[in-house]
């Protein structure tokens, strides 16, 4: 049965995902951050579909279970495309980093394709242990990719403050979720105690991205190694 915390996280997720999409349009940043806008819109609609499924079939139903984990895996793959787009934004205008960009794009496409095939193959017997293992793997790849991206941003020194905040927020989201999935794999009995972490991480990501769009100007930049605001 769902408690007040679960409902609160659900509502907060809805509100902040919508807020993230609206803030992108409000700041006229759709052309630059279209992948983030698309991801947030998809998360919003998936949450809506999950809620309808929950009302119709119940929280413990196999329909809800399949929809939740299947859509979660697909959203994770979609988030990989956001990471890829962030790589392109970070390395924008740099001819020397063509190889890094190509490598990142290839890795992301391979992971996305492989995950999609694995999920498709197991869709008739999507066991809880399998989905936890898959989620753990996908989120961990996301953590590594975001960490590499952050390392590259440190090397590149000066980057837009908004991009810095978005990459860091994504890193927190990925590492928290990967850690919780790993804990669930290690201690399946603790499932109930950790079930609220992925939705809370989702609320965090949408809130942090909304704030990044609303509070940080596109033209503001920071020196990444020290994270000091650049004097203008």
């Amino acid at each position: 049965m769902l408690g007040p915390v679960d409902y609160a996280l659900w509502i907060a997720g809805f509100v902040f995902e919508a807020a993230a999409v609206l803030s992108i349009f409000y700041r006229k940043a759709f052309a630059r951050y279209y992948s983030i806008c698309l991801y947030m819109a998809c998360t919003f609609f998936v949450q809506g579909a999950q809620y309808i499924c929950f009302l119709k079939f119940g929280f413990r139903s196999p329909q809800y279970f399949h929809l939740y984990y299947y859509s979660d895996s697909l959203l994770t793959i979609l988030l990989f495309f956001v990471v890829m787009h962030l790589y392109l934004l970070v390395f924008a205008g740099m001819d020397t980093d063509r190889h890094i960009r190509a490598g990142a794009v290839l890795l992301l496409f391979l992971t996305a394709a492989l995950s999609y095939l694995v999920v498709r193959q197991h869709r008739t017997h999507l066991t809880e242990h399998f989905v936890v293992e898959l989620g753990q793997g996908l989120y961990f790849v996301g953590t590594v990719l975001t960490y590499i991206l952050w390392g590259a941003m440190i090397k590149l020194r000066e980057r837009p403050a908004r991009l810095v905040q978005m990459v860091l927020a994504l890193g927190i989201y990925y590492s928290a979720t990967a850690g919780v999935y790993a804990l669930r794999d290690l201690f399946p009995a603790w499932r109930a105690a950790m079930i609220w972490v992925p939705p809370a991480a989702n609320v965090w990501l949408s809130l942090a991205w909304t704030l990044a769009f609303l509070r940080t100007r596109e033209e503001a930049s920071v020196m990444v190694p020290t994270l000091a605001a650049k004097a203008r």
Partner: protein, 135 residues
């Protein structure tokens, strides 16, 4: 073995990302000069001390809430607590880490002072709006 490895790596990376995120939030306020009214209200001089954070936070809570800065204040509050523990643990063993933690805590206090300044301005604007809307 793999879940253990994933858990440990994720936890280490999570702490690093959290610290960097809080530093990026602090960076936005680092260059902001404190107004005389904030210094007067908090009873501080030209620079704020690392231990002033709680005092500023209490004053921030007395002002009407502004949803725009709530998340930032919470994140920095958690970061400040983390730094407080780190400074205590490292004071005797690794003084350089303790000194870094102290500088970061000072940054947190400055952030809270800037937040207080914004909330005072927000409260004044509210008061002016209410006063002007009275018949």
């Amino acid at each position: 073995m793999i879940p253990e490895l994933i858990y440990v790596v994720s936890l280490v990376v999570l702490i690093q990302f959290f610290v960097y995120y809080c530093r990026s939030v602090l960076a936005s306020s680092r260059k902001v000069e404190l107004s005389a009214r904030v210094r007067e209200a908090a009873g501080v001089g030209n620079s704020v001390a690392a231990d002033d954070f709680q005092r500023f936070l209490e004053l921030v809570r007395l002002c009407p809430e502004n949803s725009a800065d709530r998340a930032g204040i919470r994140a920095v509050g958690a970061y400040y607590s983390l730094l407080h523990v780190l400074a205590r643990l490292s004071r005797a063993t690794v003084p350089s880490v303790a000194a870094w933690a102290e500088r970061e805590r000072q940054g947190c206090s400055h952030f809270a002072a800037v937040a207080l300044d914004r909330r005072i301005s927000f409260s004044r604007d509210l008061f002016v709006q209410q006063a002007s809307s009275r018949p």
